[in-house]
């Protein structure tokens, strides 16, 4: 089939799937419940971070995820930054993270003055390639006083960030084993993963920390927002303290025990989150049905397929994803241009992080898996209203 004909067939399949619905990539579904909560904030004169909704939102997230603690933060990037800060990551560290990833992980690492170290993804899923990473780490690590160093850059390697891309976690057992082997602490960037489970356990609860995002484009939004998940109560207490300027409790005195941040989620944002969470099950039901509809309408186009949740995973299907059967950047770009010009707001996966100007000089392993995926993936309209 010619590319032109293929573009057209893809366009028709999308149109059949979304009918007259939302052509944007992902917009939130907001309604009466959100308005009621917001009105309550105004009526109670409680809009800032010392508010009931902020605590309620944390409780609901704990219940949903099974995390022992949840700390509501202004957004996912700041939440990642705080996790790295709490683990003492600094200019002497390199932090392992997939190159096939949103830039927030790398930016958060920069905020503690450390460097990202980019690792490869598995071609057949979106998680890191654990076997390949194992071989790589054996080659580059040297242990001194119980701490692993990159023998080439002399930086510590103590942290592995993993990202559950488009809401699909995979291989977490294998990742945990590798982390144990190399004494790596895991920070899960589960920004895209609310409502996604791996072996019946919610994402963000496997590592030392997990981070959710409630940005405007996420399954659940608070306008801007994030959440730190942890089962470590000492770290949780510290996260809560440091995210609210680390003020020492006192009837009237103002002094501070730690370098603090102003990172706590305001009540008004949490109010929207509390309402949104009440719809989460319905959102995910819609999104899982949307996957089946896309799959059905694309079944006769042999050049592409629709991404399915990995084995052992129950995914939120945050973003529906078209996969070209063969990597082909020219075809990918043609499809993106064609559909966007038709008003269908499709997008590719991010340019690999190591190709972005601020991170050109960072350490990296062979990224052939990620490079292939980069040329194959296109996200389709995925709003919960579809």
């Amino acid at each position: 089939m010619s590319n032109k004909k293929l573009n057209h067939k893809i366009y028709i399949a999308i149109k059949k799937t979304i009918k007259n619905g939302q052509k944007d990539l992902h917009v939130p579904s907001l309604g009466k419940k959100e308005t009621v909560n917001l009105e309550k904030c105004i009526k109670d004169n409680m809009v800032s971070s010392i508010g009931k909704f902020t605590f309620d939102f944390e409780s609901s997230i704990k219940k949903l995820t099974g995390a022992k603690d949840a700390i509501a933060i202004v957004n996912g990037t700041c939440a990642l930054h705080l996790c790295l800060h709490l683990l003492g990551v600094n200019e002497k560290d390199e932090v392992l993270m997939p190159a096939l990833n949103f830039i927030a992980s790398a930016n958060a690492v920069s905020m503690v003055n450390a460097k990202p170290h980019f690792i490869d993804s598995k071609e057949d899923c979106l998680e890191i390639n654990v076997n390949k990473l194992d071989i790589y780490l054996k080659k580059i690590l040297i242990k001194k006083n119980g701490i692993n160093y990159n023998k080439f850059t002399k930086k510590k390697i103590r942290i592995l960030m993993v990202t559950h891309i488009f809401g699909h976690p995979d291989n977490l057992d294998q990742i945990l084993r590798l982390a144990k082997k190399y004494n790596l602490k895991i920070i899960e960037d589960a920004a895209e993963g609310i409502g996604s489970f791996y072996k019946k356990k919610h994402v963000g609860t496997f590592g030392t920390f997990g981070v959710l995002s409630f940005n405007g484009n996420k399954t659940v939004t608070t306008g801007g927002g994030g959440m730190i998940l942890t089962n470590n109560s000492k770290l949780a207490k510290l996260a809560r303290l440091i995210s609210t300027t680390a003020k020492i409790p006192h009837l009237w005195r103002y002094r501070y025990s730690h370098r603090g941040f102003n990172y706590r989620m305001p009540n008004i944002n949490a109010a929207v989150g509390c309402a949104q969470l009440m719809s989460l099950n319905n959102f995910i039901k819609s999104k899982r049905k949307l996957y089946l509809r896309y799959k059905n309408f694309f079944k006769d186009i042999k050049e592409v397929s629709i991404m399915k949740e990995p084995k052992n995973t129950r995914s939120n299907y945050w973003l529906q994803t078209l996969i070209l059967n063969k990597e082909n950047i020219i075809l990918r770009n043609q499809i993106l241009n064609f559909l966007n010009k038709k008003g269908i707001k499709v997008r590719p996966v991010w340019d690999l992080l190591d190709k972005n100007k601020p991170y050109l000089k960072c350490a990296k392993m062979d990224l052939s898996g990620a490079k292939k995926l980069e040329k194959k993936l296109i996200n389709l309209p995925s709003s919960p209203s579809l």
Copy 2:
């Protein structure tokens, strides 16, 4: 008069002033206009940072302040951090700031890995003591290749942060002259200063950058929020880019030109801010009247006075301030304990920054002026509803 009798007289004067009104230090006045704007956000499905209210809020702030550019940020601390980042401040810098100051300035400096360097305040106002600082800088600075270094710590000194405490700016002409003399760039922490003018010019517009705060306890609130003001259009453009992950504009491609932050104010918070700004004139009128009422009811208590706006300043009177005529930490603490136990939420000024654990080892000049002020100041209930 005995301290006990004085405490009681102060209590009575406050009760007469605030009648049955708000006994908290400062709570916002929110109402119909805020609710209408929030309902609009939900109806239009626009809660995150790409929203009309965020841009409208910036326009209104530009109009109010006369700043050429205004960039809405998640909060004041993050706004200060971004200003320091944009000026290239890093681990080789010390940043001059008053010790009599909120911890956010020091925390923002820590976020770029620089060190605060604490300077003294004038005993008769709340701004820095410019003459004393001039003498001090002459002693400690050494110039190499046009850059000033602290000859003792070897750190660069390029930035002077000033804070317009409780909404009262002062001496800005003198501060600007000093900055010019020593080639210092000014960042104005005008977090407390919305609606305050020095010689008819709004605070936050004198330095390279100024920062406003819209935290829950401020004259105008957005739940959590801040604003960067600048007349430098190049820096403004960069601030806007970097506060939104520094994505390079493209129809569908995701790549990034700079280390970015996720710092932009969500639409839902700006919606509250837009409504609040419509009431700003009334808030300030109330606060200026409240000053007169406090002054009147305290006029017969000779041991104390109520802080008046400095000459050349039209202040927003964010927090009303009781001043003991003589510094007396024991009396100050007795008053604070007595009134708080009576349910009147008064507070002292912050412990000087150099006495807080994370900043114990920072460089500082003689702080005798600030130390005296610390023992004299008590903030009184100041809500705009009073």
